[in-house]
Amino acid sequence: MSTKERKEQLELMQGTLDLLILQTLAPGHAHGHAIARMIERRSDEVLQVGHGSLYPALQRLLKSGLIAAEDGTSENNRKARFYRLTARGRKQLHAETSKWQRFSNAMARILAPVAEEKS
């Protein structure tokens, strides 16, 4: 990974990883690697998930009962651990999502003129 590439990527903000995981799990269950991949892909590789930091986050969500885990087999027939949203997790996701949207809309409105002037 060259330095140029790294500059274009964004470090995840503290606390946003949990929300991203919840969002990723909204359509259905997934294992750890799939979650990391999906986050990267859906953000057009801009958001870079430190794969190592995914696991503490998963444990955190498990502990607060927002997700559940069960053993299963992966697409290439290997043992894997799958995570899925719980009812509480789904509720939390909705609440957090609307909060984020309000927040990012507000940020965008504030920052918009500056961005225009520059360009």
Binding site: G32, G50, Y55, K63, A80, R81
Partner: protein, 870 residues
């Protein structure tokens, strides 16, 4: 959660491994080589162990796991250096033991409440007379104080009273007490067996009843529960046993009284007779000062209404706890403070050992910190190491305390224990380990703090660099040196206290008693039967004097009603009012010690006659009454005039004025610390008694003569009670005043000795270490031509600087600390120059000796070796 983690961790690591494999597979699919694919996957993931650890953190409980890890680490540290661990734990345990053992006494005396119902509301009442403020009440005082006061819910009186028991082994004198019938009710004590005294049982007409102490019931009545209602003979008369007191009951003002009887109208019609002490319970909401005010008013009224008996008499009102424990409190507080200081020195000493150890661990700490150990984690490591040491010391110290408590209790001599029966209750209880734990926590914190603060001062990265020791050495010297100054200052405080206490004790024992106390033996004698039978009393006195004077080893013999250097009730009850014939007085006159003296007594004790003559056999009841007075009385009543030939009048026999025929230099008739007090001496033949002391001047060791004298007395009359055989020297050193002073002096002295040892060892450690640190510097100096004497001066200058700082600091602290000692000092001031000078010299010389060895070592440094070593 925590215990299931092992399995969960394995699962998580597998999951992570699977994750990395998937990533690797994707990379392979993207066309990377096997090796590059795996490496890229690993890099993307980061450290799997950190991920696992962080996941672990999420679930909590991790601190316990880390704690266990740190404890294991700390244990390993201690095991690696067993001499250090042993020294530290021993010093700690020693300090802890000293404090805890003293605390056990403090606990028994001052912490454990007295065995009465709400003891804080109980009040001791005395009369305040010109001689002192804790004197007896008359029957009039008792009745009127009780009737007129508005502040007490009840008021009762007691007095110590010895009783005579006749058994198979002959007669025996036993301690007892007379009380008013509401006495136990006021204290709030119910008998274990039987009943309390009933209202009216204190009247002379009531049936004679007695309540037994638990001890007496066990010892004399074989703990027979059927004893209540039975009759027993006391003083030759039948008494009905109505009750037995509980085991934990004690009432120090009457010692260990075995028989409790009612006062049965004692001195009911004689207001000039002062037999009692008062005890009262405050009404709810009434304060001590309100009670004192009320009683002062009442005693003023009584002084006006009954000037003949109550002139110059007011009252003293004290909390009962103060009356009982007032004597021992300052001693105990001093001892506890001494122990605390010793403990502190021990802690400081161990702390400086820890500092030395920290110094050698600097690299280890720096490496740990560089590898990412947080300051918190390092702090915790130090805490754990400190508390581990403290914990081991606590266990050892408590074990020693537990084993030695009974041994310590038996060190208290019996007479002292009788005066302080609450010490009997000293035993292991939950408060003792609690107290010890509190000390251990303080110690643990200190141990953790010393190395921590020291390391905080250092730049961590410096620790990694080899060879560069100058800055760390200086920093260490600063930390270590300040600890040593503290140690020396505390040592100084303890030495000053011990010096002052020892000097007080010496002064007390060598106070001018007015008599020659060595080779003087005394025996107490009671003739049974009517005490007023003058003819038989005189016959007995004559017989004793002539028989005992003939005994081998006896130079002379003489009797007295009471003993010189008497104490307790036998002393306080011997005051009588006297006035000079022909002078106008309100009331009975001034109070003086009243003493019956046989022929030969003054010669035997070697009192000094300053005017007139001693008594002779012709001063008998057929002649006009005569007296000797002491110099204090002569000066008080007659000033510069000669007292000889003057006539004085005693309160009990105003019809017969007494002629003063001689003046003696003051004899200490009371406790050693008694101030000069007027005294009147009356010849035995003119004021006989059946209860007196025989004094013997011996030419041999008095202990040997005592045995044959006691035997001779029993031959004269087998029915005599012969007891209290003692040499005067023993009597003085066993007295309560001497006991308290002696134990304070010895214990604080021992503490000071240990402190001196620890302090000096501490100084030695610092100087030695400093010499080791400065080897190179010394080597350079010597290579450049410095003389040995210059090197020697260099080291000694540091030692002297530290010692002087410690000594000066200690002296300043001593001025504050010795205010605590004030009530224990006798005949010395707090800033006794001799003591301060001697103590300063002792500490300075010990400190210089301790620094001499390392200084000597410094002068032997070989420059070549020292420079090459670095």
């Amino acid at each position: 959660m925590m215990f299931g983690w092992g399995r969960r961790r394995k699962q998580l690591l597998e999951e992570i491994e699977e994750h990395i494999k998937l990533e690797t597979q994707e990379n392979l699919d993207a066309g990377m080589s096997q090796q590059a694919a795996r490496r890229a996957a690993m890099r993307k993931f980061g450290n799997p162990l950190t991920a696992a650890e962080d996941s672990r953190d999420v679930w909590g409980g991790v601190w316990l796991e880390r704690l266990a890890q740190d404890v294991r680490y700390a244990l390993r540290q201690l095991r690696r250096n067993p001499e250090f661990a042993l020294t530290a734990v021993t010093v700690f345990a020693l300090g802890l033991f000293a404090s805890t053992a003293i605390y056990a006494f403090v606990d028994a005396a001052l912490v454990k409440p007295l065995p009465y119902r709400s003891p804080g509301r109980l009040i001791a009442l005395y009369e305040r007379i010109p001689v002192g403020d804790r004197y007896h009440l008359s029957y009039l005082d008792y009745k009127e104080w009780r009737r007129r006061n508005r502040v007490f819910s009840s008021l009762d009186v007691y007095r110590p009273e010895s009783v005579t028991l006749r058994g198979a082994g002959g007669a025996e004198e036993v301690s007892g007490a007379l009380v008013s019938d509401g006495f136990f009710g006021t204290l709030g004590v119910a008998p274990l067996l039987g009943r309390d005294f009933r209202r009216g049982e204190e009247e002379p007409s009531a049936v004679k009843t007695v309540i037994l102490s638990y001890e007496s019931w066990q010892k004399r009545f074989a703990a027979d529960r059927g004893v209540v209602g039975r009759s027993t003979t006391i003083n030759g008369a039948p008494f009905v046993i109505v009750g037995v007191l509980p085991q934990d009951f004690h009432f120090a003002p009457v010692g260990r009284a075995e028989f409790w009887m009612t006062l049965r109208g004692r001195c009911k019609d004689n207001f000039g007779c002062f037999p009692f002490y008062g005890v009262a319970r405050l009404k709810d909401g009434v304060s001590l000062s309100a009670a004192a005010e009320n009683l002062t008013d009442i005693s003023r009224e009584l002084a006006q209404e009954y000037p003949k008996s109550n002139r110059d008499r007011t009252s003293t009102v004290l909390p009962l706890t103060e009356a009982i424990l007032g004597n021992i409190r300052p001693t105990l507080i001093t001892l506890l403070s001494g122990a605390a200081l010793l403990c502190l020195i021990g802690f400081v000493n161990v702390s400086s050992l820890l500092l030395v150890k920290t110094e050698s661990r600097r690299r280890e700490i720096a490496v740990r910190e560089a590898l990412g150990a947080s300051r918190l984690r390092l702090t915790r490591q130090f805490m754990i190491e400190g508390f581990l040491l403290a914990g081991c010391g606590l266990a050892l110290g408590l074990a020693v305390t537990l084993l030695s408590l009974n041994v310590l209790k038996h060190q208290i001599p019996a007479p002292a224990l009788a005066a302080m029966p609450y010490l009997e209750a000293m035993q292991w209880n939950a408060r003792i380990p609690l107290f010890a734990s509190a000390i251990a926590i303080v110690g643990g914190l200190l141990f953790a703090a010393a190395p921590m603060l020291h390391l905080m001062r250092l730049n961590v990265y410096e620790g990694l660099r080899e060879g560069d020791r100058s800055s760390s050495g200086r920093s260490w010297r600063r930390s270590g040196a300040s600890l040593v100054v503290v140690e020396l200052a505390i040592t100084m405080v303890l030495l000053v206290s011990a010096g002052l206490l020892a000097k007080s004790f010496y002064r007390l024992l060598h106070v001018d008693t007015g008599i020659a106390t060595d080779r003087l033996a005394v025996i107490h004698v009671v003739r049974l039967g009517n005490w007023e039978d003058a003819a038989r009393n005189i016959a007995l006195e004559r017989e004793i004097r002539s028989q005992l004077s003939k005994l081998p080893g006896v130079d002379s013999a003489g009797v007295t009603g009471e003993l010189a250097l008497g104490s307790g009730e036998r002393f306080t009850s011997r005051f009588v009012h006297f006035r000079v014939d022909g002078r106008a007085y309100v009331g009975e006159g001034n109070e003086a010690i009243y003493q019956t003296v046989g022929v030969g007594y003054f010669e035997t004790v070697r009192a000094r006659l300053t005017a007139g003559r001693f008594f002779s056999v012709t001063d008998d009841s057929s002649r006009a009454p005569v007296a000797l007075i002491n110099q204090t009385m002569a000066r008080q009543e007659f000033g510069e005039e000669s007292a000889l030939g003057k006539r004085i009048i005693g309160q009990y026999d105003p019809e017969h004025p007494i002629e003063v025929v001689g003046v003696v230099a003051d004899v200490k008739d009371g406790p050693l610390d008694l101030k000069p007090t007027p005294a009147v001496y009356i010849p035995f033949d003119q004021a006989t008694t059946n209860d007196f002391y025989v004094n013997l001047r011996t030419s041999q060791a008095p202990g040997v003569v005592l045995l044959s004298a006691a035997k001779a007395l029993r031959q004269i009359d087998p029915a005599l009670i012969v007891d209290e055989e003692e040499t005067m020297t023993d009597r003085i050193s066993n007295s309560e005043a001497a006991y308290l002073h002696r134990s304070a002096a010895w214990v604080v002295g021992a503490f000071a000795g240990m402190a001196l040892l620890l302090g000096v060892v501490g100084l030695y450690g610092v100087i030695s270490y400093s010499v080791t640190q400065r080897r190179r510097e010394i080597g350079v100096r010597m290579a450049l031509g410095a003389q040995r004497s210059a090197v020697y001066r260099l080291v000694m200058r540091e030692a002297i600087y530290l010692s002087v700082a410690g000594i000066v600091g200690g002296l300043l602290c001593s001025f504050a600390a010795t205010t605590l000692l004030r009530s224990l000092l006798f005949g010395v001031t707090r800033w006794d120059e001799g003591t301060l000078f001697a103590v300063t010299c002792i500490l300075l010389v010990s400190a210089l000796l301790a620094s001499y060895l390392p200084a000597l070592r410094a002068t032997r440094v070989d420059p070549v070796v020292a420079l090459r070593a670095e």
